[in-house]
């Protein structure tokens, strides 16, 4: 039975890969041969299929969680699942849900190909640049920290000036940080349940392996700094935290917790780290909450799986935030009812979960 489920899961991921190519942008000349335009003409179908896929993804995820809870999933099997998930999703189209990967490539190109300062020069200033045809933040200077820009030199040079090779080089680069984050979370928790929660969580998988968001890279360095902080390696710890917030500035908010880390009780350490990242996640709502921002707090939330409220609210967020994409998929606009529906779907499940947990607790008394 388990083998059959594993096979079905991998088949499902292959289908997800195929589905992602329905979203190929018409302006990407490099992928013209596989462009269908299906997502532009069949918005209803695409949004429905995507919703169904997210639900199936979560069914698999909860099945794996159940297996590991019942001690029916060995560490070897989890590693196998993580490795194959990474491998299969590596071949997905990265701009299915977000165009950020093009921004990463464009910024790297400004810095390493054109030799300009990406904090001063925008991609749009290179009028003959082919990436301008399909990237969405061409009129912005670099949005991320300098350490991230420095790191992107690796996948950029490994792309050998070929766009498709560069695109997948970036995917491999970010995926490797996802694998490293899984490894580190297991090293920190020594808990297979935590490893499944982080390594097979659909939101983390979609945002890190399909969309290749750099949040997982930032969180890897944050986890590494926590790892050293727990082992009294203060210098290394602060150094990696510094690297982390030089990728994306969100983990700067871990600093207050780091400063009082010794005074916090052992079993509450991850709780405080979770709370600080959760607070900054909620604060980002003043601008816009993007689904991949959830990675900031999910990693710490799943390192404390004994706290049921945190666990279930985090799982609810993992589920609901993936539905934020649907209004745009369906309406094709970020205006009108889209923002309201997006906010509603983001918070409905977490609120409902909270209310359920509150009443369930009362009834159990």
């Amino acid at each position: 039975m388990k083998k059959l489920i594993f096979s079905l899961y991998f088949l499902f991921l292959v289908f997800f890969d195929w589905f992602s190519y329905l979203f190929v942008d018409p302006n990407i000349s490099y992928l013209k041969s596989i462009y269908t335009g299906y997502y532009l003409t069949n918005r209803g179908e695409v949004a429905s299929i995507y919703s169904l896929l997210v639900v199936i993804f979560f069914i698999f995820f909860f099945y794996f969680l159940k297996l590991v809870k019942n001690k029916n999933l060995s560490l070897k099997e989890i590693i196998f699942l993580i490795a194959f998930s990474s491998l299969i999703l590596l071949f997905s189209y990265p701009a299915m849900l977000s165009y950020d990967i093009f921004n990463y490539i464009a910024t790297a190109k400004v810095a390493f190909f054109y030799g300009e300062n990406p904090y001063l020069v925008m991609p749009i200033e290179f009028g003959n640049e082919p990436i301008l045809a399909f990237m969405q933040a061409a009129n912005k200077t670099a949005l991320y920290g300098p350490f991230w820009i420095l790191l992107t030199g690796i996948p950029f040079f490994l792309g050998f000036s070929n766009f498709i090779a560069t695109l997948f080089s970036f995917k491999i680069f970010v995926s490797s940080f996802y694998v490293l984050t899984c490894f580190l979370s297991y090293k920190l928790s020594k808990d297979r349940f935590t490893l499944v929660l982080i390594g097979l969580n659909p939101l983390i998988l979609i945002e890190s392996l399909i969309s290749s968001h750099n949040d997982i890279v930032m969180m890897f360095f944050a986890l590494l700094s926590v790892y050293f902080l727990l082992r009294n390696g203060k210098v290394k710890s602060y150094l990696f935290l510094f690297f982390s917030f030089l990728i994306k500035f969100a983990t700067f908010f871990l600093l207050p917790v780091f400063l009082v880390f010794k005074k916090i009780k052992d079993r509450q350490k991850f709780l405080f780290l979770f709370l600080s990242m959760f607070a900054i996640f909620l604060l980002s709502n003043f601008r816009e909450i993007y689904p991949w921002y959830a990675i900031w707090f999910l990693v710490f939330a799943f390192l404390t799986p004994k706290n049921k409220i945190i666990l279930w609210v985090s799982l609810a967020f993992s589920f609901s935030l993936l539905f934020r994409y649907i209004p745009f998929m369906y309406f094709g606009t970020h205006f009108g009812n889209t923002p309201l529906i997006k906010t509603s779907v983001s918070f409905f499940f977490p609120f409902a979960t909270l209310i359920y947990l509150f009443f369930a607790k009362r009834l159990n008394r």
């Binding site: 054109y114 030799g115 300062n117 001063l120 200033e125 290179f126 009028g127 003959n128």
Partner: protein, 179 residues
């Protein structure tokens, strides 16, 4: 009511006329004057100028840096000339010229490196035109020569008109360059 409507329409038309005449010369905007020599902030400004030289790396970066500094020193020179601080103004204008001189070579370098310089060359020409406006006003208002006599030093002759001519020639030369 009719009278009020007529008055508002007339006023709006009047202000619109002014809006047109304000943008007729050049769309390029020079910066506000920053701190002036003698102030301690000016020394900080010099430090900033030195650091920014490295921050603005790359052909486009250096082009922008040199043009910005040229603008800044031109405004500084204009202000100092207005306050009859001829020696300091003279030095600022020389600096502005030096920075302006550096712009085109970086643009040509960018072209050599395969970068599209169409927009930047338009910016440079617009900037040059704006500089010329300022320089021509200064030319009509300033003495051709001035002898600057500091309190504790020997006097110095400042060939203002010659410097202004060189400044104008440089801008005109760059305006004719086909990038």
């Amino acid at each position: 009511m009719r009278k009020i409507l007529l008055l508002v329409t007339l006023l709006l038309t009047f202000f619109n006329l002014f809006a047109f005449s304000a943008t007729a010369d050049s769309s390029y905007v020079l910066p506000y004057p920053s701190s002036m020599p003698g102030s301690s902030f000016y020394k900080l400004g010099l430090l900033k100028e030195y650091i920014l030289k490295y921050w603005y790396f790359g052909d486009f970066g250096q082009f922008t840096y040199n043009l910005k500094e040229s603008d800044r020193y031109l405004v500084e020179a204009k202000t100092l000339f207005e306050y009859k601080q001829y020696l300091l103004a003279y030095q600022s204008l020389r600096k502005s010229n030096q920075y302006f001189k550096n712009t085109a070579p970086y643009l040509l370098k960018a072209k050599e490196h395969g970068k599209d310089i169409k927009d930047k060359s338009i910016i440079l020409k617009e900037a040059g035109r704006k500089h010329l406006q300022v320089l021509n006003i200064l030319k009509s208002e300033l003495p051709s020569e001035f002898t600057w006599t500091p309190e504790k030093d020997s006097s110095q002759s400042l060939e203002i008109s010659r410097l202004l001519k060189a400044s104008i020639d440089l801008r005109e030369k760059y305006e004719k360059v086909n990038f």
